[in-house]
């Protein structure tokens, strides 16, 4: 039997911290044959990136391998000298990092950075040859006008193009193995898809083996034949992708499958959704939340109710920003262009779009944080345009936001109790005792223990902070909650949990949600209606079922296609 290209045995990795040694990876075994593709899936902190970067000894900070072996192409990598490892990197094992914004050196031109890689790996020598090869590398990576753009700097490139540069550099020396660490998570979905397709065809052409690291089970299954699921530094399940998705065995994998929005939206979409749901819930038994079930629940609820009055009416709204240029001239930029839609009471409308589509501007105008250039927004029939400060203050009781960044949305110097109670204080609701009671009630509503009252945001996880933000938004008993990418930064399981909480709260308190997101998959499980936006314009507005089942516009179709995992047969 021939030895596989990469063979990892009993790998142990530890980090030194102030509180002692922390074991990040325990007893990991992996095999990867030449030209094969393997995906490692897990949440943040699962050890997936640590495992992959340890192969080429690029562990961050104090991390180091404490046991086990990594054999690559007949050599033991863990015992290589620095010099020998430098020769492996790039030449034999390529690396594509996660965030295109921070992985290129801002002070050197793109050409310089590619040429540097070409030269270091001995692909070409001599100034002219190196330059020629660098241009080739960039062209292969999909930068058609590479020769023209060699002299430009990273900040003059878009995120997707930078990622292409990084992919080009990773593959420049035609390595036997490519480690791609979440190579597209920072990009817009449609760009993500194009780049991954390109990466796939490139590596297939070159016969490169790929280790693909991702948090998205759907994406992993779509891009790799083999899956490895990691949890708390260990491999909990491994095997053929399709089999794992169809028949997850380990309870953790079951949880992941149930919680992944991309998979859930697929399951809902499949004709026999009812059946699939039944199947999953009987299989999993202990699964504590299931997005499909949640979505089915809301559909049922909605069917019972019938038409309701509009909570929000957006009428021909335009927002123009003046962008000051260096020369002092102001240029108009239309962020939102003649947008109209309405949201019925007690329902959820999702506004979907990629970065720069103007979706957040709509939310900010609705919240009175941004003036409306023309058109009108009405909340409960009351026009925002004609509102004075006092009226706006009163309106704020009806409408509250929850923002994306769980680390930036709570004042780090305020206790949780004060954060949740602040709206009551500002609007002078009740006395201090009744406010305290209300805060406790709210903590209870978002399933946080009352002991949280005197604690501070930095002690909480991202999901818990988001629950605090929801509790604060609920404090004034509003009718409308504006959720601006409110679950986008969370890990899959936590995301599912928060989505579940939102669904329960909506049912219980008859809330109206305006859900701003870039992630169509999430929309499928939470929204009743969808507005698709592109570059400030409304592209398509319909019920969720219609948009997913029968998209009218090409752009919507592209977005749908870009949902990871849309290409796999779930067989459910």
């Amino acid at each position: 039997m021939t030895e596989p290209l990469l063979q990892i045995r009993d790998l142990e990795i530890a980090f030194k911290t102030q509180n002692g040694i922390v074991q990040a990876v325990r007893g990991v075994n992996l095999d990867l044959g030449a030209g094969e593709t393997l995906a490692i899936v897990g949440e943040s902190g699962s050890g997936k990136s640590t495992t992959a970067t340890s192969i080429i000894n690029l562990l961050p900070g104090t991390g180091h391998i404490t046991g086990g072996s990594i054999r690559f192409d007949g050599r033991e990598l863990t015992s290589l000298s620095r010099k020998e490892m430098e020769n492996i990197r790039g030449r034999e094992i390529g690396f594509v990092p996660q965030d295109p914004m921070s992985n290129l050196n801002p002070v050197w031109s793109i050409g310089f950075q590619v040429e540097e890689a070409v030269r270091a790996n001995g692909i070409a020598t001599g100034r002219k040859e190196v330059k020629k090869r660098a241009i080739e590398v960039l062209k292969e990576a999909g930068l058609a006008d590479a020769d023209r753009r060699m002299k430009q700097y990273p900040h003059q490139f878009s995120g997707g193009m930078r990622q292409r540069v990084l992919i080009g550099m990773g593959l420049a020396a035609n390595p036997k193995l490519l480690i791609a660490d979440e190579p597209t998570s920072a990009l817009d979905v449609t760009v993500q898809r194009v780049i991954l397709d390109h990466l796939e065809s490139l590596t297939q052409e070159l016969g490169t083996a790929v280790i693909f690291i991702t948090h998205d089970l759907g994406l992993a299954a779509e891009r790799a034949k083999h899956l490895v699921v990691m949890y708390k530094g260990r491999i909990v399940e491994a095997g053929p992708s399709v089999e794992i998705l169809q028949n997850p065995q380990h309870p953790y994998t079951k949880r992941l499958v149930a919680a992944a929005p991309s998979l859930a939206s697929r399951r809902i979409q499949s004709a026999d959704a009812q059946l699939a749901e039944l199947e999953v819930s009987t299989q999993t038994g202990t699964v504590d939340f299931d997005l499909v079930a949640a979505a089915a629940g809301r559909a049922e609820l909605k069917a019972k109710q019938g038409p309701r009055p509009n909570a929000i009416e957006v009428d021909d709204v335009t927002k123009v920003f003046k962008i000051r240029q260096g020369s002092g001239r102001a240029v108009d930029f239309t962020a939102v262009d003649k947008m109209s839609f309405a949201v019925e009471k007690g329902t959820t409308t999702a506004i979907v779009g990629e970065s720069g589509s103007g979706k957040s501007t709509i939310a900010r105008m609705l919240l009175g944080l941004e003036t409306i250039t023309s058109g009108d927004i009405r909340v409960d029939g009351e026009s925002l345009a004609g509102l004075d400060n006092k009226g706006l203050f009163k309106l704020r009781r009806k409408m509250q936001p929850v923002f994306q960044d769980p680390y930036g949305s709570l004042n780090p110097l305020q206790s949780i109790g004060n954060i949740i109670g602040e709206p009551l204080d500002v609007h002078k609701v009740g006395d201090s005792k009744s406010r305290r009671n209300r805060v406790n009630e709210l903590l209870d509503q978002v399933s946080l223990p009352k002991a949280m009252f005197g604690r501070y945001p930095n002690e909480l996880s991202g999901g818990q902070r988001q629950r605090v933000a929801i509790a604060r938004a609920l404090a004034l008993k509003p009718e409308i909650i504006v959720l601006d990418e409110a679950v986008s930064a969370l890990d899959v399981l936590v995301q599912a949990q928060v989505l579940q909480l939102l669904a329960e709260l909506q049912e219980e308190l008859e809330l109206t949600y305006l859900f701003i997101t870039h992630d169509l998959a999430v929309v499928r499980v939470i929204a009743d209606n969808v507005c698709v936006m592109e570059q400030g314009k409304l592209v398509e507005a319909a019920t969720t079922d219609e948009v997913f089942g029968n998209p009218k516009m090409e752009y919507t179709q592209r977005l749908l296609d870009a949902i990871p995992g849309s290409g796999i047969k779930m067989g459910l």
């Binding site: 596989p4 063979q7 075994n29 992996l30 095999d31 949890y231 708390k232 260990r234 491999i235 909990v236 399940e237 491994a238 095997g239 053929p240 089999e243 794992i244 028949n247 065995q249 380990h250 309870p251 953790y252 949880r255 504590d288 919240l367 009175g368 944080l369 706006l392 203050f393 704020r396 509250q400 936001p401 923002f403 994306q404 930036g408 949305s409 709570l410 004042n411 780090p412 110097l413 602040e422 500002v426 609007h427 946080l448 223990p449 949280m452 005197g454 604690r455 501070y456 930095n458 002690e459 909480l460 996880s461 999901g463 818990q464 933000a469 604060r472 004034l476 399981l493 936590v494 949990q497």
Partner: protein, 318 residues
Amino acid sequence: MSNNEYTPGPGHYVAPLEETPLAAVDAVNVDEKPSNLWRDAWQDLRGRISFWISSVLILLIVIVAIFPQLFSSVDPTKCDLQFSNQGPSEGHILGYTKLGCDVYSRIIHGTGTSVSVGLIVTVLVFGLGVIFGAIAGFYGGWVDSVLSRVGDIFFSIPYILAAIVVMSQFKAEDRNVWVISLAIGLFAWPSTARVLRAEIIRVKQADYITSAKSIGLSNFKILMRHVLPNSIAPVIVITTLSLAGAIVAEATLSYLGVGLPSTIMSWGNDIGAAQDNLRNSPMTLIYPSIALSITVLAFIMLGEAVRDALDPKARARR
């Protein structure tokens, strides 16, 4: 295929459950001690030797500054030329200056001058810096443009040079601790304002500020309740460090002869007066220099300890 040992290959491997028991998703840990930025910073400070050394030194310096009589019974102004530049003797452990004054006593009585100039300048710099920085950073727009340009102008004159000009307009007998502090403080504030302005602009972007706007909190209250408390940490650091800078500035000005008149005890004056005899009696110059350097060192050490405690990034650099 065994279920306990992962044999890589095409097979479907499932880890035994007991190996990685499933934890509740996003469980809340209520057992840990409550913490926040200031509490964490204090925890961190308490564990630093440099913090304790500098604090003890500063405490001692402040006590000496307030009660100099406790440390020296000799009158620093009672000088007798017959002792000029004499070495240490009984009751005069550090010897005499050129004019025959007691070196030790002059150092003890000079402490108050340095400490009070340091404090007055710091209060001035902090006050001006916070007002200018907060208004410019928070309100932005043309207010910011105007204030920032004013700050640029003050910033463009190195503050000791500016103080030299101001002080040289005063006759020696009109100069005192207040005048010199004003002269230094008036030009030292822009760096504090710049630091605060930058920090406020950063904090202003945070979602919790937008969230505060969304509940209808007034701008002024947002500034006082949310923005300032979250942007003040670097200002505290730079203020502590500027205290050391002010003490050096006073000593430099006094040394140059545009500082305090010789009737006021000042280390800078003493150093200036001793420079002509450096070759023959270096110690009359060295002793006040040591006092000055230790005081400056104490405040810089404190400032750096505070900075490291307040800035998690700096903590990682240690």
